[in-house]
Subunit: 332 residues, 2 copies
DNA sequence: TTGTATGCGTTATCAA
DNA sequence: TTGATAACGCATACAA
């Protein structure tokens, strides 16, 4: 295997233009200090030779690859896909490539990924949530890599954070529904240690209703199914509830399908509430009561925080965004 | 900004171990030609010093970053997320990082991404479908980068391909339903040039029924909504249909919701067919008739093809996989 | 405005 | 089995 690739290098352009490699480098990077005549000529030659920069070489010279790593629990969830979309819209404009990974809600997997990522000397990294393996801090400290934790907000992030205070949102939602007269809430799709955000929301909800946190099963790959089955279980174990909280919209959707199949009237007999305000809900014959979360915005702001840091801005970004109560027809 | 990072380098380990950098390099890579005593000592020191390889430097020295680029039309579609999952399961085992991009069904965007990717000197790239910008071939030719086109099968891929013959699948499906006695099919979510696979399936279906290809709107971000609205339109424009093909399961799902809302009995009055056999369908009170596509398997095989090529295997992979007819209760 | 010398961390090559 | 040297392609630092 030959060591040199046959792709055009700065040196090839330099030879053709009769200048030094450095002049070409400066010209193509848009750095000051190149006469506009030379710059134009160099750009033309570069285009003719179909020059593509050697990014690994650039990364090595700069001790920074310019890559950004992003870790999500899963991509089988529109919530994370939305945040990813938001980040991409910013990163693409800057020609920043992203290395996306999924951790399956495992801090160990997240840590493994982080180690492999650091080996790439990334320009930044984005983590979902605020629960991480202990070793992660040690790994990151001293590297100077900008880190943004998203989705979760907390006062003392590793570096920066852009997200929601899920417990507070749960509390707000719970109070709203308590004020609407609901007294006996049930929960479908309760987390069991996998999803800390869902747990935090649940804590807030319970606080509003002065209840214990129920045990339950977590939202797995098929949240619809979980909602459907979970609703059936809930109705048989707690027949006197007057309100059902779904862990998220998907779960609530599944629960709604089950309530329909049982001929239970929503909201007359039982109220139903989701979380996130996902687009898929538009197809429900009824509008689900839920909380709208600014997912794409979170992605945009997180990406901008990293871009700004790379540009030298050192402000400590800690953004707590709000969720909006969406009154649907599944609650009174 | 300091140029040298403060992370451990091979040289640091070499100094501590009293050997040369090359010996450390060989030892940590598992290359033959290092005494087991030295190897053990070096590995220990590397661990103590928390050595993480400098991958950009490695990439430059080898003229190959080891990264794999993957392009999808979108990630807001479980189909692509499934294929991604399959690829990841293979690449993660090999510690191969992936740069994933979405093209929004635009060959121009795909081309832009490909250019940026080639600049990374990737070990391979995966493209969705067989429709690409003309310039893409020129860009890739001579680079030696292994390319796999997935989802679509075709006899003459750029390099390798792993996918389905969508037209043939449409034909099979259409014949099956014609044999079941259906005569007047309608289509919801017809593509308009965006999704060539959907068009190919549609051609196959139409061929089975000897009909013209209908005009229509493509599946956008919210396929449920499209199915719901599209079904309404279809019923008013073609009241005498006896069968509805959804562009995919999501669309069919939306259509089903609309049929329910209109009190139309499925399959007694109208049959309904989807495509893909997605997990979300488990929550439907009825099992949808559809075609099951081996999405994760496609991903796994595509990734393995790239890994094999990197290992020196030169076999021309061209895999046509089959889809399986799933008889549900939405057709007779 | 332009060029020269040097370094980035790793691997290939060849010599010992 | 080990080491010295050169090279990968680009950017920084400094000189002209």
């Amino acid at each position: 295997m030959s060591r040199r690739s046959d792709l055009t290098r700065l040196e090839d352009i330099a030879r053709r233009a009769g200048v030094s490699t450095m002049t070409v480098s400066r010209a193509l990077r848009g750095v000051e200090g190149v006469s506009s005549a030379k710059r134009a000529e160099i750009e033309e030659i570069a285009k003719a030779l179909k020059y593509l920069p050697n990014l690994p070489a650039k990364a090595m010279a700069e001790a920074n690859s310019g890559l950004v790593g992003i870790s999500f629990p899963t991509l089988f969830n529109e919530v994370f896909a939305d945040m990813l979309q938001g980040m991409r819209s910013v990163f693409e404009r800057q020609s920043i490539a992203t290395i996306v990974s999924t951790s399956d809600y495992s801090t160990t997997q997240e840590l493994d990924w982080a180690e492999r990522l650091v080996a790439w000397r990334p320009a930044g990294m984005v983590l979902t949530g605020s629960h991480h393996a202990d070793e992660l801090i040690g790994l990151l400290s001293g590297t100077g890599i900008p880190v943004v934790e998203i989705w979760d907000w907390r006062p003392d992030p590793i570096d920066m954070c852009v997200g929601l205070d899920h417990q507070d949102i749960g509390l707000t939602l719970g109070r709203k529904l308590k004020a609407a007269g609901y007294r006996a809430p049930g929960f479908v799709g309760c987390p069991e240690g996998l999803d800390p955000r869902a747990e935090a929301r649940l804590r807030g909800l319970m606080q509003a209703f002065d209840q214990e946190i129920p045990a339950g099963r977590s939202a797995s790959r098929n949240a619809f199914q979980l909602g459907y089955d979970g609703c059936a279980e809930l109705l048989s174990s707690s027949p006197d509830i007057d309100l059902i909280f779904g862990l998220n919209d998907h779960v609530a959707y599944g629960a709604w399908m089950h309530l329909q199949s049982q001929g239970i009237n929503v909201p007359a007999q039982i109220g139903l509430v989701g979380f996130n305000d996902l687009g898929l809900l538009n197809v429900l014959p009824v509008k689900l009561t839920t909380m709208r979360t600014p997912r794409e915005q979170i992605g945009v702001l997180a990406a901008k925080a990293i871009v700004a840091r790379c540009a030298g801005v050192t402000s400590p970004v800690r953004l707590k965004l709000e969720a909006e109560f969406v009154q649907g027809s599944t609650t009174r």
